[in-house]
Symmetry: C2
Subunit: 437 residues, 2 copies
């Protein structure tokens, strides 16, 4: 005898919890079981995120997903008074003149204008006044800068409707709303070993399901036995292939490790001054800032008087799912050799200061850096957020629920709509995202 | 001291050998080294193929790639008098009325008409006359047929410009032409352990290549030492991820095992009669025939008086790269339980006859079932042919060469052209293929 629910949501990261909430809210008669291998929701990759939120994407799809999700987060924080530690400190992209003029950057700006995504261009002189501690130009004699291919900072794109939040609080919001509605207690510390793929109907033949049988995912295998459901939502980010590959359901995502390094600003007056850079927003601290070289970025964390430093790992960082591995953590040598040299050239205030803490998570890349949301053989797949799942979470979850209900369109927060099947594998209608960090 | 070539082509399957040929032919001053882990060219997945060729695809892209490649194969066989054991026996897709009327099938037919792909619709009555041994209708009392969801055969789509060939002979053609031009002897029995990704320039720092360094694949690591090249062509089909993932170059292909089962027709008069079905073509044997249920297909092999029986593994067959595994071979139980029950219902002549031989290979699926051809960080990737690489090989190789030469367009055999970057990851402009076997 096995248990049976209408829906099992595998994965209680931000995408799983938000999906569980909308599925339960809009299907009140259905039983929704949320399961996760961790002791509570949001404790795996969601917790490892830089948790910055932006609507400044080049793809209209990503703009829509983030713009509506961020509006909803503001609604949670401002109207519902559920504290998300949400700060609209803005995003600041530093660019050389050559970068600024690249066709991809021009297209990015044009699409933002076409879709009413707020941003402004800041020129070097104004930028230098706003952030006196930023080095905008490297002299021709600076051999280090030349060796490191450091671009000058000639322009910045600033997006005021962007910022940062605490992802664990966002998870707690969706989880608590879900718990108010659900009659089924979530199960944590429960690892899903595999998906159950069964013949429909089963004939009790050896080797089922056979090629000529209809087959469907009918539940999950766990250390505590099998649990059945009419629909299994797979919302496990970079772990997606581990569940879908064995049953032959296509996913086409790739996992890659990403790290964050915490650098304390307290006791370092130049760093503290940099952290509390005024002038960009009324939050009183520095925008989420992307350097024009090396993929290095800087996130202010005013509550803990620190910075989180990250870096976009492109070629040279393996595609693999690493969270299960023993050596999984931030790499001090990576900070020392790859991140720090770039960071300290643009922001000398970081010179000779070592990170006090570091951690790592995995991104789940889609080929076009747009989320994947689709149904296949009894599974509803939600994955491929490509490192920007938190800022798209509300829209992704609403689309997943619309797919479940068979609605042709998903209505996002604020009323804009999107065809529910447009983020699937086969009828995919998206612009490839080019603004990746 | 390491060796250095202009181009290394990794993988001497059909795509690697054809690419090596066009690269050498159109870049006569360049040195091209072809390497493969097998003792000779075409001995891995290419040799395992059903080696059927068709231009009957639903995507205009696949139509173009196959139509021009098949024309070139006919040129090799008919004009150059290089025997490919090429038989234009045709392709025969058996369909129920419901299948025939599906929008995807209607779109398929419309696109074939728009692009001058020859085919004709055959109705049940004529089909039954052409193949008396085919069961077209299952009675309502046939419980087996109902349990197995067997569709009736109401229509067939027949493509006369399709057929079969011997892939090892096709490989030999490209290899011998390549050897006539190349000054570098191919190296077989040489396994590539990994790609060399190096900083440009190297500064001798620990952990290179670092994030802020320019980096490029500069060669291959093998058991016989490193070999350098300005360009490394990765043409290793389902093994692509094994080489590209560790250096962080995206590929987005998925491997899946496929099997073939040889059933001898000699000594079985009804099977021999079926094999030598006249009336479809002047080859005098049965077209490559796809049953309307279970994904089962039948390929005649007149030279050995046998059939090769295959089956399209969809959900239920894991995505994984299996060729390295010890248990890698055809699975007798799979034939018995999955393939045979379907096959023997449509063609009772197969009843009670067991396969005399069986083998397996891996497909390399792309998300849209269109090949992937692109340059990235010093690598030229040729992959994702999704089980139809042989029939597209000539076009794929010409596109790879055009990319290498920086040409905006590739000219295919017969003069039609295609933008050289249209099968890449980022500027991909293709129609998703829906006619997969």
């Amino acid at each position: 005898m096995t248990e049976k629910f209408d829906i099992i949501v595998v994965g209680a990261g931000i995408l799983g919890v938000a999906s569980a909430y909308y599925l339960q809210k809009n299907n009140p008669d259905k039983t929704v079981l949320l399961v996760d291998s961790q002791p509570d929701a949001g404790q795996a990759n969601t917790a490892m995120s830089a948790a910055a939120i932006r609507n400044m994407f080049s793809s209209s799809t990503n703009q829509l997903l983030t713009d509506t999700s961020i509006d909803f987060f503001r609604h949670i924080h401002d109207d519902l008074k559920f504290d998300l530690t949400l700060h609209l400190c803005g995003y600041l992209w530093l660019l050389s003149e050559q970068q600024f003029k690249e066709p991809s950057v021009q297209t990015w700006m044009q699409r933002m204008e076409a879709n009413d995504i707020a941003y402004r261009v800041i020129e070097q002189k104004e930028l230098q006044q706003l952030i006196p501690g930023l080095v905008c130009e490297f002299s021709a004699e600076d051999e280090e800068a030349a060796l490191m291919h450091l671009n000058n900072v000639d322009y910045a794109l600033f997006g005021a409707e962007c910022g940062v939040l605490d992802p664990s609080l966002l998870v707690q919001f969706y989880k608590s709303e879900f718990l108010k509605l659900s009659k089924v207690k979530p199960r944590f510390n429960l690892r899903v070993d595999s998906l159950l793929l069964e013949a429909q109907p089963s004939l009790g033949l050896p080797g089922e399901p056979l090629v000529w049988q209809q087959k469907q995912v009918t539940g999950i295998r766990t250390s505590q036995g099998n649990i059945h459901a009419d629909k299994v939502v797979v919302a496990v980010g970079p772990w997606t292939n581990t569940l879908l590959d064995p049953v032959g359901i296509p996913s086409y995502v790739k996992a890659k490790k990403r790290q964050l390094f915490m650098v304390a600003a307290s006791d370092h007056p130049p760093l503290e001054e940099l952290l509390f850079t005024k002038g960009f927003s009324d939050t009183g601290f520095i925008p989420f800032t992307i350097l024009p070289s090396g993929g290095v970025y800087v996130r202010g964390v005013p509550e803990e008087k620190s910075f989180w430093i990250g870096c976009a790992d492109k070629v040279g960082r393996a595609y693999k799912y690493t969270m299960d591995e023993e050596d999984y953590s931030g790499e001090r040598a990576y900070y020392e050799n790859s991140v720090y040299p770039v960071l300290s050239k643009y922001f000398p205030a970081f010179a000779n200061i070592r990170p006090g803490n570091m951690w790592a998570g995995d991104y789940a890349y889609a080929v076009d850096a747009i989320p994947l949301i689709y149904e296949h053989s009894g599974v509803l797949v939600v994955t491929g957020a490509s490192g920007s799942g938190i800022m798209k979470a509300d829209a992704i979850a609403r689309i997943a629920d619309a797919l479940y209900r068979g609605e042709p369109k998903a209505t996002l927060y604020g009323g804009r709509t999107i065809p529910a099947d447009s983020l699937g594998l086969t009828n995919r209608k998206v612009e490839v995202e080019s603004v990746l960090i």
